[in-house]
Symmetry: C2
Subunit: 336 residues, 2 copies
């Protein structure tokens, strides 16, 4: 390993001169500058970030805790985060928590030991306690895609309620009267807000909310699949279904197909998220799009704000969704 000392010797100047050339931190004569630059090139000098960070008492790395990077939704957000951190010369330490609290704590400590400048928590089982603890330790923090009850913390999330409204209104506008909904997760999850948006829209259109048409899923394919089978067994089956994520929506399509029903003629389906997969279903899925990359970018922006000033005011940002109409929605066959 070549160090700054080697460069200094080679260039025939002092260590501090080299340092100042590197960091542009004070005036250096043109001659010295050139000799230093030559020496650095010749020796292929790479400054040791460890030493620099130790001395400066700050690093250029940030921790990102996601439940599962192999989940396309989180992966897109992660890309948004990684892209803008790269632009700002920060690097990302990746942590997969699987929503497991113990792993989250372990990772959090690891990140703190690594002196990260800040931490981005992406969704799933962010514990109030852990967040409070981190706040207390003055670790710059931003929470993505999940509200943390009773705690004031920088967060960015999607306006799930608005998304639920968009989906529901779209189906109503097409003429549907019996619209089912497949929720997921617990009461605090983003999905709950989507369901609320669905119910509110129904009310606002003077349509009754039928509890039998609200099914409970778990964000997985299977649960959408099963829910639709149950729904279609009802004496008065729905003509449309709003699934709270794309994967369940795909399950819906499969179940309908299995029963010989055509989508969208016999059953309309709307998803949520607009992951890449949604473009490739058969037929392509109508869905509510979350601005995933933008979520990541914004999250990093909030984090930076906090890093630069730990006392900066808490910001809670909500991003709007967008309806992407593809080919799984149409008017119902018999308007009753």
């Amino acid at each position: 390993m070549t160090t700054i000392k080697d460069v200094a010797n080679r260039a025939g100047v002092s260590i501090s001169t080299v340092s100042h050339v590197i960091n542009n931190s004070r005036a250096v004569s043109e001659e010295s500058r050139q000799r230093v630059e030559e020496a650095m090139a010749e020796l292929d000098y790479q400054p040791n970030t460890l030493a620099r960070s130790l001395r400066r008492q700050q690093t250029q790395s940030i921790g990102m805790i996601v439940p599962d990077i192999a989940n396309p939704f989180f992966a897109e957000i992660a890309r948004g985060i990684e892209d803008s951190s790269f632009q700002q010369n920060y690097s990302i330490i990746l942590c997969n928590s699987e929503g497991d609290l113990e792993k989250q704590v372990a990772y959090t400590n690891l990140l703190i030991q690594n002196q990260v400048a800040g931490i981005v928590f992406v969704a799933a089982g962010v514990s109030t306690e852990l967040v409070e603890d981190l706040q207390h330790r003055e670790v710059p923090l931003v929470v993505v895609d999940r509200a943390v009850p009773r705690v004031e913390v920088n967060s960015v999330m999607t306006n799930h309620n608005q998304g639920g409204r968009l989906a529901t209104q779209h189906l109503i506008d097409l003429g549907h009267r019996r619209i089912a909904c497949i929720s997921a997760g617990s009461g605090l999850s983003p999905s709950a807000d989507r369901v609320t948006g669905y119910m509110e829209t129904l009310w606002e259109n003077n349509m009754p909310v039928n509890k039998k048409l609200i099914m409970h899923g778990d964000f997985q394919y299977e649960s959408g699949y099963k829910a639709v089978h149950t729904l279609l067994d009802l004496p008065e089956p729905p003509t449309a279904v709003f699934a709270c994520n794309d994967l369940m929506a795909v399950g819906c399509i499969s179940a309908a197909a299995e029963r010989g029903l055509r989508v969208p003629q016999d059953l309309s389906v709307v998803g949520f998220d607009n992951v890449r997969l949604a473009s490739f279903t058969n037929p392509p899925l109508t869905t509510v799009s979350q601005p995933m990359r933008q979520i990541g970018t914004l999250a990093l922006e909030l984090l930076m704000e906090r890093i630069n000033d730990i006392d900066s005011p808490v910001r809670i940002e909500q991003l709007d969704t967008e309806l992407v109409v593809r080919r799984t929605t149409a008017a119902p066959r018999h308007t009753d």
Copy 2:
């Protein structure tokens, strides 16, 4: 921030005693140990990894360069890598290269400056030059999913040829005679080996290779879609198609559906990779499965070997694929 010094003061022992308790590096009296442990707990002491690594001249972090973490195939491999690195107390610095050489170089330098213990390169445009440079600098390295011509470097990849054979033989066994293939990427890509496996299997079964049935795609949905439209316009269209990845296979299914052809009755389709999406297509996709997690795990194993002994022999590992029969393949309607 509480330091080791604070702990030492609190516990009434020397700094070195604290250090030895933490690292279990020499005998310490039971009394001292207890007082140190209490002090650490009370002060919530977190050892500073930066300082430790600087002193020890080695870190517990490894760099992972992937083209795009939002690509499900890479994401699964990344999980494999991250999971086993966590187990071994290493953390991952995530880098998205987009296959761009400049970004790869930038990231590589950044990783070296961060003193990473080693680097995992995942696929896509790994340049021979860069790898050689890294070898020369004695950076522990492992390349995943791509052969680097003319360079001896630790690598782990799938036996693509065998996978191509599996897919093709499956279709032949079902009775297909006109089997198309949709390749992708350049001559050196993994896909090329899959095509070779396809051709070899045809020969071994005394079936001619018809150049018109070999289409060139680009791993994207669209290209599979277009290829099938072209193929079905042929005077003698194929009864089956082997697409070199799942996404293109999904494109094939869509194109067939658009023409009113049923899969698998009118056209059989086999994909490659077995990404999660493959279970959710309509009908579920028959495909050749790559052991993505295992690839990640094995990659980390090779890297560790290198980290522990930079002169350890080069290992090039090939993992077997597996045919996953779902519901896009069946016997052709008219065996001619």
